[in-house]
C-alpha cells in the first residue's frame, strides 16, 4: 500500500510539472509562438541586467536569433552578457530548478519579480524541441569558462547536466573574455516585428536601462544597436524588511514559525520595518498577545489578531497603532535626465520632458513613479501616441488597455498640452510617446501574466500627479514656442517685409529708398532677445547664441543671465565675453548700453553633454524695460539657489541643521538634487 501511494504521488508530480507548464503557459508567457520567443529573450536579458547591476558592471548584452527550421518554426536564441558569470557548481541550480523558493524576507525592487525565470525557458525549449540548453559561463577568478548542457528531469523536477567541460573563452578579436554568460537554446517560436516583438522589447529595455549597451541580431541578420548613454549604474538597491501594512497571513505565519527570537517584541522590531519598540508593544497589546511570548508558539488566532492590529482593525485607545513608513531608499528610479537620454536614444527627439516623483508608500510598499514625454521626429500625428509602460525597469508589452498606467494616461486631458484627444479622455493622438515607470518593492499585477498593473487608487493618483506636473512643464514649453513664433514673425516683418515695401514703393514712385529705422522702432517698440540652442555635430558641443535687439527709441542697458547645466557636468567654452557666475547653473553678462536699432550677440558652447541633453536655454534679464524672449530675473529664486548651494558645499559646518531636517523627515533623509532643467527654472510653478 505504501509503495503504491508513493508511486502515485510521484506520478502525480510528474504529471503536475509538465502539465503545470502546459496548463499555465498563458500566464508563464509561453502561450503563442511569438510571445514565447519574447518571454525567452526577456528572461535571459532580465537575468543579465540584474546580475550586472548586482556586480556593479556596465552591461554589454548581445541577443541573436537564428531561424533553424522555418516550416516547423524552430528558432535558436543566443544571448551573451559581460556579467559576473555563474560558478560552475551553481549553473544547474540557476537553470534547472523550477519555481526556486522566493526570498520572502528580502523585499526589494528587482526585475526578477516578474516571470517564471530562466528555468521556464529551459523547460519550454526541451518540451518543444527536445533539446538541451547550452550554457557557457566564465567567472573572473577562474582562467577558463565552464560549458554545460542543461536539461530538466520533469519526473524529479531537477536539472540534468551533460557534456560538462571547460575551455578558454575568447572574444572575436582573440582577447580573453574576463567574465560573462552565454546561453544558447532552441525552441519553437516565431519572430515578428511590431508593437509586440523582441525588437520592441529590447528597444524599450534600452530606454529604461540607459547604462546598458544592447545589440540585437534579428533572424534576417540585421543588426540593431542601442548604445550606452550613461556610465552611471542604477543606484544599488537595499533590501528592506516587510512593513506590517503589506503583509499577508501566510507570510506572517511562516515568519513566526521560522523565527528563533525569544519574544514577540524582539521579533516585531527585528523583522519588520516601521515598527519602533513602542509600536511593537502597542501592536501586541492591541492583538492581546503577551509580549514575552515566543513567535514560534503563536496560535492561529494570534496570527489573525496580530494581522488585524497591523491593519489598524484592532486599536489602542480607539486609534490604530501608529507605524512609521518603510524607508524608501530601497528604490532605484531611473531619474529624469537618464529617462531623457534613454528616450532620445531610441526616438529622434524634437522635445523631451520628464518627471520623477518623490518615493511614497502604499499598503506598506514603497513605490516611486516616473514619467516622460517625447515629441518625435517622423512620428505620425494622427495615430495614438506610443505608450511605454515599465515596472521596475521591465517593459510591459501586453494588456495595455487593462493596465493602471494606461488608465492614468487616459484620465489626463492632453489637449492643453498640444495633443489630440477626443473628448479629453483616452489615449491621446499625436507624434509623441509617453513613458510611465513604476518602481516598487512589490509590484501588483492584474494577473500572473504580469503584463498589466492592478488598480490602486493611491498609485493611480500618484501617476496622474506625475503626468500633470510634467504637463505643466510641457505647456510652458509650448507657450514659449508660441511666443517665439510670434517674435519670429516680427523679425520677418521688420527684416524682410518692411524693407521690401520701402524699396518697391520707392521704385514705383521713382524716389529714393527712405530710412526705415523710425518705422521699425514704431512697429516693434520692444527689446527682443532671440536665443538658439543647437547641437553641433562637428564639435560635439551644444552651441548657444543669444541676440539682443533694441527696437525702441531709447538707449537700454541690461544684464543678461542664462541657465546652463553646470550640475550635470557641463563646461562653458568659447565664452569670449567673460561674464561671471551668479550661482551654480546661472551665468551673467553685464552688457554695454544698447542704442536704438543696435543689436548685441552673446555666444558660447557647452561641452561635456550629449545630443538631446540640453535643448532649451532660459534667458533672464536685469533692467527696466521688458525684454521679449527673456524673463525678468527673480532675485528671490537666485537667493534660494545660492542658499541651497551654500548648504550643499559645506556639509560639515551645517551638520546640525541637517540633523534637524532629518528628524523632521525620517522617511527620506536625502533630498534628491534637482536633475531636470524643467524643474530648476520654469518648471514647478
Amino acid at each position: 500500500m505504501a509503495g503504491t501511494a508513493e508511486r502515485m504521488a510521484s506520478n502525480q508530480k510528474q504529471v503536475a510539472i509538465s502539465e503545470f507548464f502546459e496548463k499555465n503557459k498563458h500566464f508563464l508567457g509561453f502561450d503563442s509562438l511569438t510571445r514565447s520567443l519574447i518571454t525567452a529573450v526577456k528572461e535571459a536579458v532580465d537575468n543579465s541586467l540584474d546580475a550586472c547591476e548586482e556586480a556593479r558592471i556596465l552591461p554589454d548584452i548581445r541577443v541573436e536569433l537564428t531561424k533553424i527550421d522555418g516550416k516547423k518554426d524552430i528558432v535558436e536564441l543566443k544571448t551573451e552578457d559581460n556579467g559576473p558569470g555563474i560558478p560552475q557548481r551553481s549553473i544547474e541550480k540557476v537553470f534547472g530548478q523550477l519555481l526556486f523558493g522566493s526570498r520572502f524576507h528580502a523585499i526589494r525592487q528587482s526585475r526578477g519579480q516578474q516571470g517564471i525565470g530562466i528555468t521556464g525557458v529551459v523547460m519550454y525549449s526541451q518540451l518543444t524541441t527536445g533539446r538541451k540548453t547550452h550554457v557557457r559561463s566564465k567567472i573572473a577568478t577562474e582562467a577558463s569558462a565552464a560549458l554545460v548542457d542543461i536539461g530538466l528531469d520533469t519526473r524529479k523536477n531537477k536539472a540534468t547536466k551533460s557534456n560538462e567541460t571547460r575551455e578558454i573563452w575568447e572574444h572575436e578579436d582573440g582577447t580573453l573574455k574576463e567574465h560573462g554568460l552565454e546561453v544558447t537554446t532552441r525552441m519553437k517560436g516565431k519572430y515578428q516585428r511590431g508593437r509586440q516583438s523582441v525588437y520592441q522589447y529590447l528597444r524599450m529595455t534600452s530606454i529604461v536601462n540607459p547604462h546598458a549597451d544592447i545589440t540585437f541580431i534579428d533572424p534576417d541578420g540585421e543588426r540593431h544597436h542601442w548604445p550606452r548613454v550613461t556610465e552611471r549604474l542604477p543606484t544599488k538597491v537595499e533590501s528592506i524588511k516587510p512593513h506590517p501594512h503589506g503583509i499577508h497571513l501566510g507570510t506572517l505565519q511562516r515568519m513566526c514559525s521560522e523565527s528563533k527570537d525569544s519574544r514577540m517584541t524582539v521579533f516585531l522590531r527585528g523583522n519588520f520595518s516601521g515598527v519602533s519598540s513602542r509600536a511593537a508593544k502597542e501592536l501586541l497589546q492591541a492583538a492581546e498577545i503577551d509580549e514575552k511570548m515566543k513567535p514560534k508558539s503563536l496560535k492561529p488566532d494570534h496570527y489573525r489578531a496580530l494581522l488585524e492590529a497591523f491593519q489598524g482593525e484592532r486599536m489602542i485607545n480607539e486609534k490604530p497603532v501608529k507605524l512609521l513608513n518603510p524607508p524608501t531608499n530601497c528604490l532605484s528610479p531611473i531619474e529624469e535626465l537618464l529617462i531623457k537620454k534613454g528616450l532620445s536614444k531610441t526616438i529622434d527627439s524634437k522635445f523631451v520632458t520628464t518627471m520623477t516623483r518623490s518615493p511614497t508608500v502604499t499598503q506598506g510598499n514603497p513605490y516611486q513613479v516616473e514619467v516622460g514625454l517625447i515629441f518625435g521626429e517622423g512620428m505620425l500625428a494622427d495615430k495614438p501616441v506610443e505608450v511605454l509602460r515599465f515596472a521596475n525597469r521591465v517593459p510591459l508589452m501586453y494588456q495595455q488597455g487593462g493596465c493602471l498606467l494606461t488608465k492614468a494616461i487616459e484620465s489626463v486631458d492632453w489637449r492643453q498640452y498640444g495633443l489630440d484627444q477626443a473628448g479629453g479622455r483616452g489615449v491621446p493622438k499625436g507624434p509623441a510617446a509617453i513613458l510611465v515607470h513604476l518602481a516598487s518593492t512589490n509590484v501588483q499585477f492584474t494577473s500572473e501574466a504580469k503584463e498589466a498593473l492592478a488598480d490602486n487608487a493611491e498609485v493611480m493618483e500618484e501617476v496622474r500627479k506625475a503626468l500633470l506636473e510634467m504637463g505643466r512643464g510641457l505647456r510652458k514649453h509650448l507657450e514659449k514656442k508660441k511666443k517665439m513664433a510670434k517674435t519670429q514673425e516680427k523679425f520677418e516683418l521688420v527684416n524682410d517685409i518692411i524693407p521690401a515695401i520701402a524699396e518697391k514703393s520707392a521704385q514705383i514712385l521713382g524716389r529714393p529708398v527712405p530710412d526705415l529705422s523710425g518705422s521699425i522702432t514704431k512697429i516693434m517698440g520692444a527689446v527682443i532677445a532671440e536665443t538658439t540652442t543647437t547641437w553641433n555635430k562637428e564639435t560635439k558641443q551644444t552651441d548657444v547664441s543669444i541676440t539682443l535687439f533694441n527696437y525702441t527709441s531709447r538707449a537700454r542697458a541690461y544684464t543678461l543671465l542664462v541657465s546652463w547645466p553646470e550640475r550635470d557636468g557641463a563646461a562653458m567654452e568659447h565664452n569670449d565675453l567673460g561674464g561671471r557666475k551668479e550661482a551654480t547653473g546661472v551665468w551673467a553678462w553685464k552688457l554695454e548700453t544698447l542704442d536704438p536699432g543696435q543689436t548685441f550677440v552673446i555666444t558660447y558652447s557647452l561641452s561635456g553633454l550629449e545630443r538631446g541633453d540640453w535643448t532649451d536655454t532660459d534667458v533672464f534679464y536685469r533692467g527696466s524695460q521688458e525684454v521679449i524672449g527673456a524673463s525678468k530675473m527673480d532675485e528671490k529664486i537666485l537667493e534660494e539657489i545660492r542658499r541651497l548651494e551654500a548648504v550643499a558645499a559645506a556639509p560639515e559646518e551645517t551638520e546640525h541643521d541637517d540633523m534637524d531636517d532629518m528628524e523632521q523627515n525620517p522617511a527620506s533623509p536625502e533630498i534628491p538634487p534637482p536633475t531636470g532643467q524643467q524643474t530648476l527654472f520654469g518648471g514647478g510653478e
Binding site: 515695401i501 527712405p514 522702432t521
Partner: protein, 366 residues
C-alpha cells in the same frame, strides 16, 4: 450715360496715391498703411440719389504692424507694378494669370487665388477705378441670353457684328462677354416686353423648350448662380437703355434672396460700383416663401447654415423693407425651402402655363 472707365494716366495716378500713402508713412517714421472702406454689411447704406446701396463712411486702416497685413501691403505694391507694366505694354491678363505671375514676387506672392481677387477689388475700391482700368479680366464667363433683341458686338478683329439673340443663335443662346461696355457692345433694338433673369440652367432650358420667350415676348437671361459683373451690367443696361421691366425668377432659399439683392440693390463686395451694376427696378418673381404653401411645392428642410443665412439677412439693410422681412420670417417659420424645378411636380408645362402666367399677371406683365 457717364463713362465708367478711366484713362491710363488717371489709373496710374490713382494707383500711385496708394503707393504714396505707404511711402510717406515710412518717411515719417511710421508703419506703412493702406486705408480702405469697410467691406461688410455694416458699412453699406442706401444712396437715395443713385437708388442703390453703396459703401458708407467707415474706413479701416491696414497697417504693417502684423506680418499678415504687411504682406498684403507688399502684394498691393507688386500688383500696382504689374498693372503699370501691362498699361505700358498694352496687355491684359486674367486674375488667375496674375495669381500665377505672383509666384515670382518672392515675399509678395499670393497664397491663394481668393487673395489675389480680393486685393484687386481692394484696389478698385481705394482708387475708384475698375478692374478693366487695371487690365485685369475675370475668369468667370458671363451669362446666356435668348429673346428677340438685337445688339452689336465688336469681335477680336475689331469688327462690329450684328446679332439677334433669337434668330442668330443656337439653343444655348447668346453668350454675354466679360466686357459689356460701350466700346464692346451696343444695344440696337428689341421686340420684347420684359426681361426675365433665371437662376438655374435647367429652368432656362425648360422655358426655351416650351417657347416661353415667344409666347410672352420676353428676353430670358441665365444668371448661372451668383451672377458675374458683366451679367449684372448688361441687365442694367438693357433695363435702362430700353426701359424694360426686369423680373427675377430664382429658387426659394436664403441664397436666392442674396442673388436678388445683388441684382437689384448692389452686392456687398462690389458696393463701390453698385450704380453701374445694380438694377433697382428689378422685381423678385419667385419662388417666394408663400409660393411654397400656395402651390404646395415639394420642399426641403432648412439646414443650420440656411437658418443662419436667413437670420443674417434680417439685419442686412438691403432686406430692411417690410415685404422682405415678411418673406424671410415666413421661410424661417416654415423651416422649408424649394427649388425652381419643384414646379415640375405638376408636369413639365405647369411652370409656363400656370405658375409664371399667374405670377406675371400679379405684376401686370401678362
Amino acid at each position: 450715360m457717364m463713362s465708367r472707365t478711366h484713362t491710363n494716366e488717371e489709373t496710374r495716378e490713382a494707383l500711385h496715391g496708394v503707393v504714396e500713402e505707404m511711402y510717406d508713412k515710412i518717411v515719417k517714421g511710421e508703419a506703412p498703411t493702406m486705408t480702405l472702406p469697410v467691406r461688410t454689411k455694416t458699412n453699406i447704406g442706401f444712396d437715395a440719389k443713385l437708388g442703390v446701396y453703396k459703401y458708407g463712411k467707415k474706413r479701416s486702416t491696414r497697417d504693417a504692424t502684423s506680418l499678415g497685413s504687411a504682406k498684403q501691403l507688399l502684394r498691393a505694391l507688386h500688383v500696382v507694378e504689374f498693372i503699370e507694366e501691362m498699361i505700358d505694354a498694352g496687355k491684359s491678363s486674367t486674375l488667375r494669370e496674375m495669381y500665377y505671375i505672383s509666384e515670382a514676387w518672392g515675399l509678395g506672392k499670393f497664397s491663394s487665388q481668393n487673395e489675389s481677387n480680393n486685393l484687386a477689388e481692394d484696389l478698385e475700391v481705394v482708387t475708384k477705378c475698375l478692374r478693366e482700368d487695371f487690365k485685369l479680366r475675370p475668369e468667370e464667363d458671363g451669362a446666356r441670353m435668348i429673346g428677340n433683341l438685337t445688339l452689336r458686338e465688336r469681335n477680336r478683329r475689331g469688327e462690329w457684328m450684328r446679332i439677334n439673340a433669337r434668330d442668330d443663335v443656337g439653343d444655348s443662346g447668346y453668350g454675354v462677354p466679360y466686357n459689356v461696355e460701350l466700346e464692346k457692345i451696343e444695344l440696337l433694338e428689341h421686340d420684347i416686353k420684359f426681361i426675365m433673369a433665371i437662376e438655374t440652367g435647367g429652368m432656362f432650358d425648360r422655358l426655351i423648350e416650351n417657347g416661353f420667350d415667344e409666347d410672352y415676348k420676353c428676353g430670358l437671361l441665365h444668371l448661372k448662380g451668383q451672377p458675374a459683373r458683366s451679367t449684372r451690367r448688361i441687365l442694367k443696361r438693357m433695363s435702362e437703355e430700353w426701359d424694360l421691366p426686369v423680373v427675377v425668377f430664382l429658387d426659394g432659399d436664403p441664397w436666392s434672396f442674396r442673388i436678388f439683392a445683388s441684382i437689384a440693390y448692389g452686392a456687398i463686395k462690389t458696393a463701390h460700383i453698385s450704380e453701374y451694376l445694380a438694377t433697382p427696378s428689378a422685381t423678385y418673381l419667385g419662388i417666394t416663401a408663400d409660393d411654397i404653401m400656395a402651390y404646395d411645392l415639394p420642399s426641403d428642410d432648412l439646414s443650420p447654415r440656411d437658418i443662419d443665412a436667413l437670420k443674417a439677412e434680417l439685419t442686412d439693410p438691403r432686406f430692411a423693407d417690410g415685404w422682405w422681412q415678411d418673406q424671410i420670417n415666413m421661410m424661417l417659420e416654415l423651416g422649408q425651402k424649394a427649388e425652381q424645378q419643384s414646379l415640375a411636380k405638376y408636369g413639365l408645362d405647369f411652370v409656363t402655363e400656370t405658375y409664371l402666367p399667374e405670377k406675371l399677371a400679379d405684376l401686370g406683365l401678362a
